[in-house]
């Protein structure tokens, strides 16, 4: 037995609704190591860490900290007392307060705020690890990177010996990333253990001591960083088996170019580069897959095409027209369908009835009425969607929030394909659906392709890519790493491109 500070054994966590987030997960963290948790979105990384920090309670399995078994009440407060601290992706700092005031929050050692003592302690920590944070600075004055260091100080101030960083590099520029890991390295020399959650392979290989790969809620393998490479990690992350049958026939003739992106650049919500000179085209009768680990620019890609996000450079052509700067409304009117990633917050208005949701894209159309809406026509349209797509709903005036995920997606699909769109942008269209609904969505997309429509299918599931697409482009950190014919692509090549290796063009 080495000097393990955390041991998680056989952890299982099931969420209401039967979603298994973790199953049979073993994880050992040793003193003074940097341990990476690598996996795609939804692989169960965050759930596992939330169990360790006392936010969730595991349904099965055991947890040991410093060799002691955790029993009885174990919440965030107890986790902090055990020396476990987590730096979340969204910082939990009070912006108008100073650094030292933020330290005082949530610590209950004294009733009165004693700035002097706190300040000297912060300066001591800051000096020790070269954090360069002044205790008197107000949070809003600090850069994102500095705020992250304040979060680290906060954890150390509370006596953290095990520091969990949730996707710490997502908000940082490349220079800041290097600085962050230098700091973390220095901390491990003092016996502090670091766990960092990520889906970026090169970071893991450059900075971690050991790596645990999670996939679909299971801990697949723990490896030493120096004994592995990106190819092996990619295989472990995406899985190997690809025995799915292709759902699309090869007899559809290719039509004209419907969508063409040339060197498109765009920023994400945090103002960092999200799309880096993306170029591709899609023809009628073709499904182009966008593969890649989530968070590499997929969301932004779907948004620039549909007009929801500003393009900072480059050009987007729809058939023969430049739509780079067009409004969402104009692009909808061009008959571009969009199945968004976020069903509840974007695709549907939860507290409105199915009728209101059914006409979200066509309410400006004359058939829905003029200044006053034609209720009868709206009801008819909705009823037709419900009948055609076999949507299960008590009646069309029911709020959609009571519908199941599969039925919600069917409603979106019904609405988006109602007016025979020329181009369909589908973002993770089957995420979270049951097998029957997945099959239904795929069949509909295949039907549209057969009708000669162009489809852009964004997916993180290589099986889906293989089943559904003619060609596949791999997106990595906002760049297209390569575009290949799906049937000629090997799983290894795709895995490598997803890990950041340059591929070929097809």
């Amino acid at each position: 037995m080495s000097n393990a500070v955390v041991e998680m054994k056989n952890i299982r966590k099931v969420f209401p609704g039967g979603v298994v987030a973790n199953d049979k997960v073993d994880l050992t963290i040793e003193k003074g190591e940097i341990h990476a948790l690598l996996g795609e979105n939804g692989a169960g990384k965050s759930t596992l860490m939330n169990i360790l920090t006392g936010l969730y309670r595991q349904d099965d399995g055991e947890l040991f900290v410093d060799g002691q078994k955790i029993e009885g009440k174990y919440g965030p407060k107890e986790a902090i007392a055990k020396g476990i601290g987590m730096v979340h992706q969204n910082f939990r700092l009070v912006k108008p307060f100073t650094v030292s005031e933020n330290m005082a929050l949530g610590t209950k050692d004294k009733f009165l705020y004693d700035g002097k003592i706190i300040e000297s302690k912060i300066e001591e920590i800051s000096k020790k690890f070269q954090l360069q944070i002044s205790p008197k600075a107000k949070i809003w004055q600090l850069s994102i990177g500095e705020q992250q260091r304040v979060e680290i100080i906060k954890m150390l101030y509370r006596g953290a010996q095990i520091l969990i960083m949730d996707e710490p590099t997502a908000v940082l520029t490349p220079n800041e990333v290097k600085g962050l890991f230098d700091i973390l390295k220095a901390m491990t020399k003092e016996g502090i253990s670091i766990i960092f959650i990520t889906h970026k392979m090169h970071e893991v290989l450059s900075y971690a001591d050991r790596i645990t790969v999670l996939r679909g809620g299971f801990a697949i393998k723990t490896l030493n960083a120096k004994d592995t490479n990106d190819r092996e990690l990619a295989d472990l992350m995406v899985g190997r088996q690809l025995d799915a049958k292709r759902m699309i026939a090869d007899d559809v003739p290719l039509g004209e170019v419907v969508l063409k992106l040339s060197d498109v650049r765009a920023m994400n919500d945090k103002g960092l580069l999200a799309l880096d000179n993306v170029s591709f085209e899609i023809r009628g009768g073709e499904i182009l897959g966008i593969a890649g680990v989530a968070g590499n620019g997929q969301k932004e890609l779907s948004e620039v095409i549909t007009g929801l996000r500003k393009v900072t450079a480059g050009k987007i052509m729809f058939k023969n027209d430049d739509i780079t700067k067009e409004s969402v409304q104009k692009i909808i009117d061009r008959n571009v369908a969009f199945i968004p990633e976020d069903r509840h917050g974007m695709g549907l208005a939860n507290n409105l009835p199915a009728t209101d949701n059914a006409i979200l894209k066509s309410y400006r159309n004359k058939r829905c009425g003029g200044i006053l809406m034609n209720k009868k026509v709206v009801d008819e349209i909705t009823q037709k969607m419900v009948d055609d797509f076999e949507i299960k709903i008590p009646n069309i005036h029911c709020n959609v929030k009571l519908m199941s995920g599969g039925n919600l997606q069917k409603l979106i699909l019904a609405r988006e394909t109602f007016d025979n769109p020329e181009l369909i942008i589908a973002v993770y269209p089957v995420r979270g659906l049951d097998v029957g609904a997945i099959d239904y969505v795929h069949q509909k997309l295949a039907e549209e392709r057969k009708k000669g429509k162009a489809v852009l299918l964004i997916s993180e599931d290589l099986e889906e890519i293989y089943k559904m697409t003619d060609r596949v482009a791999v997106l990595y950190e906002g760049k297209v790493m390569g575009i290949v014919k799906t049937q000629e692509a090997s799983i290894n090549d795709l895995g490598l491109m997803m890990a950041g290796a340059k591929g070929s063009e097809a």
Binding site: L308, S327, V328, Q329, I331, I332, D333, F338, P340, D342, G345, M346, G347, L348, A349, N350, N351, L352, D356, I359, L360, K361, Y363, R364, C368, G369, G370, I371, L372, M373, K375, N399, K401, L402
Partner: protein, 350 residues
């Protein structure tokens, strides 16, 4: 252990029952407070509610203003734009209406068109005033709560400047007020006795028009979707800034109209002592009505009675603060009662 669970959907009967029970609890709470402080609770309640029945015209005079103001506030609130500036927009409406009445060309002074022109001026004035906050919100995302609230004070000072200064009447014998408006500028009373005026029908018409606009029109559809969330509205191709500007203009325009009707029907001149606090009462009405236009009509009558009680109570030798106490506790209990329609409280054995 007591557990609180979020309800997926609030049953219809709870939507009606909780506000009624909340109002009853508020009445009881106020009565107990009165008893503890040694007031005659029964007599106070009788003065408030009995007095309102006898003086129903005065109650409805308050309600007319409340109805128009509240519909305006509700239009903004429906889109999650928090227009707190109804009081100021109402004052600007009063100023615009008074300006037309006082300085209209001779030909217009006896014309039946004078009142409509006053109304239009008030709508435009109130609407543009609200657009100061609305535009700042739409273009720079400036918090409209702060701007619309602070503009109330600016409007008040403009009003005071005018009546103390340039608009001070020749016939006002030194009082800070304008000359009286010409006779054609007065909205007539409905009955021979009493102050209830034809503005009532304007208010009822506005309620009905907005009920249809919000529920049946394309614009109402956009407002519903935007109220659900900015992302889904943007996804549907709606322009948020355009809609914020339209909603804010209508919201302020209606407040301006309420101000014009108030000065025209009741005051007949501009003075610094206009009852513009009613602009804040309208926010309470809207909140109690859950933004529903028809419910706003009913709640406006109820609140109109409580406002009337504020002036009626002192006449009966009872402090007018009791009416304020009642208003406050009703708002408090209705908002607290809202908790029970959104959450289930369960007793669970551990």
């Amino acid at each position: 252990m007591i557990k609180v669970e979020k309800r997926l959907e609030t049953p219809k009967y709870l939507l009606i029952l909780t506000p009624i029970v909340s109002v009853l609890v508020a009445l009881m709470f106020s009565a107990i407070l009165l008893l503890v402080t040694g007031e005659d609770a029964a007599r106070a309640m009788n003065t408030i509610f009995g007095g309102s029945l006898i003086n129903w015209q005065e109650v409805l005079v308050n309600s007319v203003t409340l109805m128009i103001l509240s519909i305006g506030v509700a239009v903004a609130f429906k889109m999650v734009v928090w227009n707190i500036g109804a009081a100021g927009q109402m004052m600007i409406g009063m100023i615009c209406a008074a300006g037309v009445a006082l300085f209209a060309p001779i030909a217009l002074r006896d014309s039946i068109f004078l009142i409509p022109i006053m109304a239009v001026a008030a709508v435009i004035g109130g609407g543009l005033w609200a657009l100061i906050s609305g535009g700042a919100k739409a273009i720079w995302n400036v918090n409209e709560v702060i701007t619309s609230l602070l503009l109330n004070y600016v409007a008040l000072y403009i009003l005071q400047f005018l009546v103390f200064g340039p608009w001070k009447g020749v016939t006002s014998s030194g009082f800070p007020q304008t000359d009286p408006f010409p006779a054609a500028a007065k909205i007539p009373a409905i009955f021979e006795t009493g102050r209830l005026h034809y503005g009532l029908f304007v208010a009822l018409a506005i309620i009905i028009i907005f009920y249809f606009l919000l529920n049946k029109s394309r614009w109402g559809y956009e407002i519903r979707v935007i109220g659900e969330g900015r992302n889904v509205a943007r996804y549907g191709g709606m322009s948020l800034s355009k809609n914020i500007i339209i909603a804010m203009f209508i919201s302020g325009g209606l407040a301006g109209l309420a101000g014009a009707i108030h000065v025209s029907a009741l005051e007949g001149r501009l003075s610094p002592h206009m009852n513009t606090d009613i602009g804040y009462t309208a926010i309470i009405v809207v909140w109690l009505s859950r933004l529903h236009p028809l419910v706003i009509g009913i709640v406006s009558v109820f609140m109109g009675a409580l406002l009337f009680a504020e002036t009626n109570l002192p006449a009966a030798g009872i402090p007018s603060e009791i009416a304020k106490l009642l208003q406050g506790s009703i708002l408090f209990f209705v908002i607290a009662g809202d908790f029970f329609s959104r959450y289930k409280v369960k007793y669970v054995k551990e």
